[in-house]
Amino acid sequence: MSEKITFKQLVELISSQAEQSHDSTYSFIQELVGIIESGLRSKGSVSISGFGKFELRWMNERTGVNPQTGEEITIPGQNKVVFKPYKSLREHVNRPYANMEPQVLSETPEDNDTGPISPAVFGTKKEGPSKEKPKKEEPEKKKPLEDDSPFGLAPPDDEDPFEEETAKKEKESEKEDDTEDEEELLVERNSPVGFPSLSGSDEDEKDEDFLASVFNLSDEIEDEHEKEKEADDSADTPPLSVASTSVDKKKGIETVKKAGSFNWSYAAAAIVVALVIFIILFLMMRPDPAPEATVLPETTEQELTEPADQAVRVAPEEPDPVIDEEAPPEPEIAPPVTYEHDVASGETLWSIAEAEYGNPYLWPLIFESNPDTITDPNVIVAGSSINIPSIEDPQNLTPEESEMVAEGYYSLYQWSTVNKPDEARNFLWAVGKFSPDVLDKYSGEVDSNHLSFAKRQ
């Protein structure tokens, strides 16, 4: 990378390419240089198509220090000659690093206590704040062609900034999430191996391959992030799928560590996990069909006939069994006109009620109708089957339907007194809203504070 060819060799190359003699090429180049200078002198810029542009840039007057005496001197305003390569030259020169893309870290400025780019990083690169160890000052020997580097980088110094970074990151990783681990692993892996070798001129090809693999991984990391997000979004209710996403993450970290494209093994692992979930859910579903088998033929047949008739029949049946049992265990206590609904992933009783009735506040009715399947009103299992009582006109509930909803809220109230006492009285109030009769029915059994709250509003 820092090899030089002599001007003589250059002339040879040009002569052979242009089929000219050495002498004529030599004099040609001399003329060219002369024209460039005079062009800069007269016009301030000379552009050579396909190559680049030479320009004069004005530097304003500034104060400097005489390095020998230490006194201040004024550097007068003057032109400087600059060369700007055109695109084809730029791209040609950057060929070895052409495929690399920026690698996104998950750090944001808030993560770093020490500020955006910590001073320690720059400190080791340039001069040397107190933090620096003595050995870092030694490799000041600069490679020949990199003396003019504007960053003042002596390549061997490169190891240090990143080692410091990873040391800091290791401390921070204890505080940060698991999601950070992937990037930290990557950086840790890079620094001891990759960066020092950047400087070696002989090792260019090795660097290119290694760095290419490092930066190409950025695609994989982003893919994995997206896969994880998708997995998280799609499965919230079944506890099993939570386990699967964490398994996926771990597998993801493992594949990143291996530094290759292991998409197949990752996909295979995901498929296996999905199959396991399916099998387990399937097994869970099996026991339910048995008791429902008897109810099903009745309910579906009844549903097909006019529901209006059923409403009449329901009324006289209902009050007795409901009054007798506070927590109706048998399916027959539930209103006979129901149909089955398979719970899809992401559904809630609220959302199902809204979809079926147009009024999500009727959800306790569904809760009430599924005492076996739904024990916790906040949790329904995707893939399970629940009964949904059919309501002819959800906007105008019949008194019986209102009572059923009120009963549902009462069940919720009871559940709540045990599990979430602070919210219990709200459910009792809801009971009263849907059916004051039902509220009165239970008034003897409820906490008097809750009752007064429910009746007051």
Binding site: M1, I14, I29, K43, N79, D158
Partner: protein, 97 residues
Amino acid sequence: MNYSDLIDRLSEATGKPKTQTKELVESTVSVLTSELGNGNGFSIPELGTFSTKVNDVKKVYSPHYKSYILVPPKRVVDFSPASGLKENLKFVETEDE
């Protein structure tokens, strides 16, 4: 000074036809480009030194990604003018193009 002016003046100075000077310039450019592409630097007398250098990986904050990113290394062309040229052009008054 644009490219065609350059060619004109060069052809005048060398006495060669424009087509030929243009080809010569193109050959020169192609050799220079390929040498720089191989990472080889060179000096042209009275003009300056061309070389390549590698900008190392940097950790910077990207407003686009809203987080830190590692900018990949990049190899670029570096030019340093010859001292004679520098001096000659230091205090030149140029007409604006």
